[in-house]
């Protein structure tokens, strides 16, 4: 007998293991309640047993299970069997979920397991009928991932859109118009000023158009191109005008994003140049450390510390420089906080491009008789441009989405991300929140689109570059000194901010009473530590599925070819791009009532974390898979292993480092997230960052500093452990940054 006789007999047998799932769906349907009365998932309420529920077509579900069971067991050829399984799986799933949607009854455990089993039945069908190339595991995975993306990314965002345009069951643009013309959105024409801001902003159009016309003439552009440039210039002029003279959230956020992204990009470039070409080895080495900072820092901790260093009575501004004003509250303060936070990101992105600069190219250009300026313009700049653009656009997105810094330092100006929150949480106007959310989402997606169009990158996965080895000509002295001074100032500021947080946790009252004390650490024991431990647990629980799901998606997208693959990519991109507050309001709108009732539970926090952090794992997975020869998987397949076993025996062992890295980053990001989860915390499901924000807002400074210190130390430890692990395994530690 052949080795694979067992396998072969199975393959040629007349039944399919799909029967297990068909039967499971039937058993789950009969054994568990299909709905539940309230929020508690585990309520086993007899009233929600299927036979006590209305709607005869709910019984389509078990009927389909029975048909599927029969189809799996009867001797049919695989195409016909597959088609029947697809039909029954789909019909059962649609009937079950349709019943939930029609009745609005929150789903019960029975619904979850029954419908999941039916999805697997459908997956078997797709595989057996040959509609999806791949075994049932792949087909089911594709279905599950697609369903999850629809339910937990697309549907919530759709709800936001719907809430913005459907008021009291009526389709209308009233709310959009009311919000956009309201004083918080775009306060352009201020009746209380003598000047006309509107006219000033409009004057940006001719100014911009004229500037671009001059540029077009200078470049001797063709007429059509010149027209395009002039109209583009007009639009740009208008945007600049609105940014400068408007006061509402959109003007403020735009201006903030432009400032923060520009400065971060410039600093990022400076640090990247310095990191590669300075003569001082210590500076070169410490560069990689700064790239860790944004990962380990809770979102508003730096802003909080800035008040103490830079406020009216700040250590630096008042005590050392003798200043006395409140510039820190408002746009300048937020911009500074964002620059501190985004520069490392910009550095990471640009580093790749700078590493791609080749000294030989520049020298070659000079030897060919080009001037330094010409060399820069024709050689250096084109090589740097993609990296700079990428860094700029990423910082722009981050700036728009930033929630913590405007909340702490924003003063009383409005920002899009915080308005989403205020409109919902303080003014309780879900439609207004939705309008803000839609606007924010559109802006961010436009920037993303611009990024992928301009840079020709199809996805967000290729943000970082790989530094190449090789000697570089050192920087000109003067430039190096300037850059060094900038870096040292930046480093001192950052170190000072972190140190002040630690300091604040050990003194009686930061800035007032410097007596050393452990009181604040003791005060953590009541609520702080339990909440911290709870958060760590939730973050850990969510990190595992986030990493696995991210890898699964990476695997499906990279290695499998199926209809709808672009949709999967798009869905994952969407969860990455959507600002946290928008996703937060989307979750509360989508999951607060009705069939998908999930709010006020740990489950929704876990789900929020999974789908928020999964893209990091996708990126790691895609990068990891790119290093692995697909023949390895094919070899495993031809040797008889199913896809599941191939993943377990071949891919996971080979990708263990990026997998662990994905896991740890998912954990760390969950620990420091706030913008999305602030909407969904509930009694017993309180998270560290939300608690910390409360303390900061209400002046429990010492406690906040102690918690901030605890968080930073924890994150640092975790990240250092990861780096140790990757170094031990001899794999590039440069790859650990998400």
């Amino acid at each position: 007998m052949a080795v694979r006789s067992i396998i072969q007999s199975r393959s040629l047998a007349t039944t399919s293991s799909a029967w297990i799932f068909a039967l499971s769906s039937l058993v789950f349907f009969l054994a568990l309640p299909f709905g539940r009365p309230g929020r508690a998932f585990l309520t086993i309420d007899p009233a929600f047993r299927p036979w006590n529920l209305d709607g005869p077509w709910l019984w389509l579900v078990p009927l389909m299970s029975v048909v599927a069971l029969a189809a799996a067991l009867l001797p049919l050829d695989s195409t016909r069997r597959g088609n029947i399984l697809i039909l029954t799986g789909t019909t059962g799933f649609v009937a079950g979920s349709g019943w939930l949607i029609a009745t609005g009854v929150p789903f019960g455990l029975g619904a979850v397991f029954t419908l999941a089993a039916l999805v697997v039945v459908g997956g078997y069908g797709l595989s057996l009928s040959g509609r999806v190339q791949g075994d049932p595991f792949i087909a089911s995975s594709i279905l599950f991932v697609a369903l999850l993306i629809v339910l937990l990314i697309i549907y919530p965002l759709f709800t936001v859109l719907q809430t913005a345009v459907v008021i009291d069951g009526r389709f209308t643009f009233e709310k959009i118009l009311a919000t956009i013309s309201g004083p918080r959105f775009l306060f352009l024409e201020n009746p209380f000023t003598e000047r006309s801001e509107f006219a000033l902003a409009m004057s940006g159009i001719p100014v911009g158009a004229a500037a671009f016309l001059a540029w077009a003439l200078f470049r001797r552009a063709a007429l059509s191109r010149a027209l395009l440039m002039v109209s583009g210039g007009g639009v740009a002029g208008l945007v600049v005008g609105v940014m400068l003279f408007g006061r509402g959230a959109i003007a403020t956020s735009l201006l903030l994003a432009v400032i923060a992204a520009t400065v971060s990009t410039v600093l990022g470039l400076a640090f990247a140049l310095l990191g590669q070409r300075t003569r001082i080895a210590f500076v070169r080495r410490s560069m990689s450390a700064i790239s860790l900072l944004p990962i380990i820092t809770p979102p508003f901790i730096l802003a909080f510390a800035m008040i103490f260093l830079l406020g009216r009575r700040g250590l630096l501004t008042h005590d050392m420089l003798g200043m006395s004003n409140s510039w820190i509250f408002g746009l300048p303060g937020v911009a500074l906080a964002q620059i501190l936070a985004f520069t490392p990101i910009a550095y990471l992105v640009i580093q790749g491009s700078v590493a791609g600069l080749n000294a030989a190219l520049e020298e070659a250009s000079v030897t060919l008789g080009a001037s330094r300026w010409h060399t820069f313009r024709t050689i250096t700049w084109p090589l740097l441009r993609p990296g700079l653009a990428n860094a700029f656009l990423l910082s722009t997105i981050e700036s728009f989405a930033d929630f913590g810094n405007p909340l702490i330092l924003g003063g009383d100006r409005n920002y899009l991300a915080t308005e989403v929150f205020s409109a919902f949480a303080a003014r309780f106007d879900p439609s207004e929140a939705a309008v803000y959310g839609v606007v924010l989402l559109i802006i961010v997606l436009l920037v993303f689109y611009a990024q992928s169009r301009w840079l020709g990158q199809s996805s967000f996965v290729t943000v970082t570059g790989k530094p190449s080895l090789g000697g570089f000509s050192p920087l000109p002295r003067a430039l190096e000194v300037t850059l060094l001074v900038g870096f040292v100032l930046w480093a001192v500021a950052v170190i000072g901010l972190y140190a002040s947080i630690v300091y604040g946790s050990f003194v009686q009252l930061w800035g007032v009473n410097s007596t050393l004390t452990l009181r604040h650490w003791r005060d953590l024991s009541n609520t702080g530590i339990p909440v911290f431990l709870y958060t760590a647990r939730i973050a850990a629980i969510s990190a595992v599925p986030a990493a696995l799901l991210g890898f699964l998606i990476a695997y499906l997208v990279v290695r499998q070819n199926f209809w709808g693959r672009r949709f999967l990519e798009f869905g994952s991109m969407l969860s990455f791009a959507t600002p946290g507050t928008v996703m937060g309001v989307a979750y509360i709108l989508a999951f607060n009532t009705g069939p998908w009732l999930l709010t006020s539970s740990a489950v929704i926090i876990v789900l929020a974390f999974i789908f928020r952090n999964m893209p990091v794992a996708i990126r790691g997975g895609v990068a990891g898979l790119a290093q692995i020869d697909p023949s390895l998987e094919e070899a495993s397949t031809t040797l008889g292993a199913s896809t599941g076993r191939t993943l377990r025996l071949v891919l996971i062992p080979l990708l263990i480092i990026p997998l662990v890295a994905g896991l740890i980053f998912a954990f760390v990001r969950a620990m420091t997230a706030i913008s999305q989860v602030i909407f969904v915390v509930s009694p017993g499901n309180m998270l560290t960052t939300v608690l910390l924000l409360g303390w900061v807002e209400q002046g429990q400074i010492g406690r906040a500093a102690a918690m901030g210190t605890l968080l930073i130390m924890t994150m640092l430890t975790v990240i250092l452990l990861l780096m140790l692990l990757t170094r031990k395994r001899g794999l590039g530690s440069g790859e650990v940054v998400p």
Partner: protein
């Protein structure tokens, strides 16, 4: 099957805490007070207490959003107006505690059978005299003083869109001056405001750190910051001032109604009310007349309290009109 049992186990872990008896409290006063409630209540009754701290406006929003499937059992603290709105919208229901007659009659009479008075506190100025001195500005005594250009950029108050404190302040001014005059005054005051904060107690914090010199807010929050060690003094305006009656409400359709009523009964006992000042860093005057007033608490008898019309200014329509008038007429004016 192994995978299935893992999933089940995860569900059990996540939902496990739902089986113990507990009460979910939506807590609107200072976080420190909210934090101190749990251990004391658990010790007194053995019931677990879980809370979420939200400002009173946010709390009302949350309760409205969850009205169909309430999560919370009790709404603890926060300015009275939102409690009143919640009662009128049937988001909360009136529960008459056994201690009703022990509560200060001035409070119970003012609110009637809508919500339970929990504490009271008055609006005033929380002043950092050091900053004033440095900036060469006098210490303010009256509302009128605050329009002095010397205070440019030195005053903070909260935004009525997000803070009940701010609304109480504006309603107080309307009651003292009349609506149009009050808005004229607010317009002048606006020129001196450094920022309108999201949270009601944040101005005191700014004053404490010296980012502003004067915070308009509840005096008991000023006491809190002063007790923490910030160089702050409390000043009651000479023209008189308004006050709040912090509320305690039972949520309509509370999932743990029994635990909720036990919590309400407990919260009104002098022992429970003492927690506020002793470990909660909160210095409001507590509603139970048997609760000793903390020495640091503002002495309400010595303040010139106006006859605050809770009925009229608790009306959501009046509130909306005043807040939107402020938002449209005061907030946008350049300064």
């Amino acid at each position: 099957m192994k995978r299935l049992s893992l999933v089940l186990a995860l569900f059990l872990v996540l939902a496990g805490s739902a089986f113990a008896q507990r009460v979910n409290v939506l807590c609107s006063p200072d976080l420190a007070w909210c934090e101190a409630l749990g251990p004391a209540f658990e010790q007194a009754t053995g019931i677990d207490l879980e809370f979420v701290r939200l400002s009173s406006s946010e709390a009302l929003a949350r309760l409205r959003a969850e009205a169909a499937n309430p999560v919370f059992d009790v709404w603890f603290g926060g300015t009275g107006d939102p409690h009143l709105v919640a009662f009128h919208e049937s988001v909360t229901e009136f529960y008459k505690p056994s201690a009703w007659d022990e509560l200060l009659p001035s409070l119970t009479n003012a609110v009637g059978e809508t919500y339970i008075p929990l504490y009271t506190g008055a609006i005033g100025f929380v002043v950092n005299e050091g900053v004033l001195e440095e900036e060469g500005a006098p210490v303010p005594r009256c509302w009128e003083d605050l329009t002095n250009p010397a205070y440019k950029d030195l005053i903070a108050m909260s935004d009525p869109n997000s803070s009940g404190t701010s609304y109480t302040t504006i309603a107080t001014l309307v009651q003292i001056m009349g609506e149009d005059e009050a808005f004229e005054y607010l317009g002048e005051l606006h020129q001196n405001i450094q920022q309108y904060t999201r949270s009601g107690s944040a101005p005191g914090q700014l004053a404490g750190r010296g980012d502003v010199a004067i915070a308009i807010q509840f005096l008991h929050d000023g006491v809190k910051f002063a007790e923490q060690g910030f160089p702050l003094t409390n000043i009651a305006p000479c023209e008189g001032t308004g006050f709040e009656i912090g509320g305690l409400s039972l949520i309509e359709g509370a999932p743990n109604r029994d635990a909720a009523t036990r919590f309400i009964e407990w919260a009104l006992t002098p022992e429970a009310q003492l927690i506020a000042a002793e470990s909660g860093e909160s210095y409001q005057v507590q509603s139970n007349r048997n609760t000793p007033v903390h020495p640091a608490s503002p002495d309400l008898d010595s303040l010139n309290l106006i006859d605050y019309d809770f009925e009229q200014f608790g009306d959501p329509e009046v509130r909306d009109r005043i807040v939107s008038r402020w938002t449209n007429e005061i907030f946008p004016v350049p300064r």
